[in-house]
Amino acid sequence: MILHTINRSPFGSSCLQSCLDVAAAGSAIILIEDAVYAALPNTQYTDQIAAALGKHKFYALDPDLKARGIHEATLDGIESVDYDGFVALCTEFSKVVSWY
């Protein structure tokens, strides 16, 4: 299965939407850089992400959440990982596809 990375904010770019459309059930998604804003609760995109949580395992890069001041309250079901965890995920999945 594939690990998808997304690095753009869902509010400004269609990246997340495209990734969600194309990612097969069971593939995982890691939010990095500005894409970590997709992990916020109570936003325009929360319902969509929450729905996708049943189809994909979601991760968010913790250093990016922290930098942006949003690490304390992210959506349930999105797991924080550090750079080591990001690398580990890349080894666990058979391939990495980047959306930017």
Partner: protein, 130 residues
């Protein structure tokens, strides 16, 4: 596991160079192998030795060069993308009669074949896009 990375964004302007660097450091610390980092598109600017950030700020080029020395890395700046953007080593500067060269130590200019070869021999090829 054998990794290769491609970096497409200009340092400082776009976080992707930072993320790629942190990712590279982490995978090396974990004992994985980094076959190559290929700098393409605006990623070529990562190799500029002339980058002069304030003392209290990160210097991405210097970080890459240091990592390259520590782990004997292959940091390749695409020559076609680099020439267009003013990234030259001494050979290219001479060839095109340019007044200076600016490629930092630890980086080499080479062709796109290096990107393809990396995709062929690596277990994971990871794009850090801008």
């Amino acid at each position: 596991m054998i990794f290769s990375l491609t970096v497409y964004g200009a340092p400082f302007s776009n976080q992707c160079s930072d993320t790629a660097y942190q990712f590279a450091s982490s995978l090396l610390k974990q004992g994985h192998s980094l076959h190559r980092v290929f700098f393409y598109h605006d990623g070529v600017y990562n190799g500029s030795v002339l980058a002069t950030p304030p003392q209290d700020e990160r210097n991405i080029q210097a970080s890459w060069s240091q990592l390259a020395q520590q782990y004997d890395l292959d940091l390749v700046v695409c020559v076609a993308a680099g020439l267009r953007r003013g990234m030259l080593d001494e050979t290219e500067a001479d060839r095109y009669e340019q007044p200076a060269h600016n490629l930092a130590s630890g980086f080499t200019l080479s062709g796109l074949g290096q990107m393809v070869e990396a995709a062929m021999v690596s277990d994971r090829m990871i794009t850090f896009g801008a």
